[in-house]
Symmetry: none
Subunit: 183 residues, 4 copies
DNA sequence: TATGAATGAGTCTTCATTCAT
DNA sequence: AATGAATGAAGACTCATTCAT
């Protein structure tokens, strides 16, 4: 019976997200395979994390595709992105933090491409007059990551209901805290 | 020559913030002492992280005091808090993520107390009609942490200028992305 | 297509001769078969080495037969032996070194028989007054092995021409280094 | 109590000489230290073997110095070399066989220097008319190694008396097997 | 007090070997 | 019969921690 690579990555993500020092043994056990088999599929710990990155990048890219970032107004696109990316948020947060930054390789190029797409969305919103222009698109991109990560964590810790998550992030990001007249 | 406990904590924070798995050896070397000496001052790795937490908590608490959260309107207090807490942001982000949650001890009580003060601030803003009420104060607290962490990281990575940091966080948090009429 | 047992042994000998820790995987690959198949043909690593020994012993025995050790004078017989054994020299050197001495089994009996034949040759030379008697036949046997191994290695390393090999060994062994009057 | 590096190397040589796959654990135990300590002193298995090489080279070089290869006739110098090098013979044989040939580094340069000194000795003997010239000095060098290795092994296996060893090697090498008139 | 040295406990990794197709 | 996949066992290695000076 072939090992389900997807499953291994999923379990690894789940565990590593909670504790960055999770051992290969624990990951293998969680995936229902032996340590040796885990090593057969991922040459080593680094390789596994690398694969996790590639997987996360791919998933995130797919989420962006699904969100059709270029269609409609930027705010709507952003909402769709947040919703589509929700399932990946936790892994992204982990990779973001742990990322040993193997400088100058393909994986980093992957990250850069994702960043660029999101930054482009914020730029479009600014160009179309929907988003304020005194906050740089680069910062907004980082802020989005930060809020998604915080949100995933807050849900995990039981401080925010899963059903409220996307709404909470999108509303905060788009409208801020202030109660405004016209709302 | 007495070991500078402050310095050790500072170096440890700097390193651990960047890589959660930094070894005791690296920390010791960064602090300019031997591993053995590090152990003499902090009973063990856990103890070191614990001390880091206590230190972070204390610093953060002091930042809150300095920000006089109860004075003036909530928005102003929030701005002051962000500014005052800036130097601690990175450590907080680390502790926030890594915190192994030594359930039910004094350190956690410390965190809870900090959380409570911030949450109270958001509640006050909501009660006074300044902050919207459809986003829970708990979530806003988490979001603040997330944005401070993302901001510290963005500065570290060179994507946001240090001088813009506080403004970037406060504006985003308070006003959101949307360009509104009255602004 | 049936696996060519001969080929496997040949490749194994070639690899193991160069590095005693060559893995089963490397051997299998060199032989153009899978690890599993290698195991189907040789019950395990030990079994493979055992087979290699048996094969080497058989080859060496055949070489002795071909050299007609009992015919003519001992020196001539020795020359013929060196020449006939040349192709096996490298494997013999490996087995000689690596031989884990599975005490008291048939393979060792095989070695003993070979040793005995060679030793007998040296004894004959001594008895017939051709070889000096102050060097034990047992030592001469070991020395022959040593020189054959060194020779195979020297050829492999390009320090001795293959065509000179047998002559170099035989001359050294028979005549030594010294330039003597009567030569 | 400081670990005796010499002792570790000595034990490692003794064990590895007998079985090339001796584990780090066994070596550590034989040296009376823990595995971790062994690793503290030799970064890894490779490093240990490397150190063994350097040590062997140094010892062999010292043996050459002690043998005063340039003094007296070449035959006498060779005898002195064999005697002086006897204690290192086994290690040399191991290194010779196992040598992973870390191409182009200092260790290999060390080997080359040793080879050169010995080869020079044989050349001198040839130039002075003591050694025959139809056997290349390079081959004689290899042959010397081969005989020293075979001798060490023969002693270890109980086939040659330790006290006869040097004589056996020197006589064979210098005079060959043949009984000559004048002897 | 400070530290070089030593180590126990655990993790990663590899290998020979078996299993299921 | 042949093999890709899986694994137990064993070895290499690292790290936090302790010890002796």
């Amino acid at each position: 019976m072939a090992v389900d690579r997807e499953r291994v990555l999923k379990e690894a993500a789940a565990l590593l997200t909670r504790r960055a020092t999770t051992s290969m043994d624990e990951i293998a056990r969680a995936a229902g395979i032996s340590r040796a088999t885990l090593h057969r599929h991922f040459a080593g710990r680094d390789a596994l994390i690398r694969a996790l990155e590639e997987h996360g990048i791919a998933q995130f890219a797919r989420a962006m595709d699904a969100a059709r970032l270029d269609e409609g107004d930027a705010a709507g696109a952003l909402r769709r992105l947040i919703e589509a990316a929700e399932p990946v948020a936790a892994v992204l947060a982990f990779l973001f933090t742990e990322n040993q930054l193997f400088e100058g390789d393909e994986v980093n190029a992957g990250w850069a491409r994702l960043d660029a797409r999101i930054t482009a969305l914020f730029r479009r919103g600014q160009a179309e007059g929907d988003f304020r222009i005194d906050l740089s698109a680069a910062w907004l991109t980082e802020a989005l990551y930060g809020l998604m990560g915080a949100g995933a964590w807050a849900v995990h810790e039981g401080r925010v209901a899963r059903n409220d998550l996307n709404h909470s992030i999108a509303e905060l990001l788009l409208g801020g805290i202030r109660r405004s007249m016209e709302k």
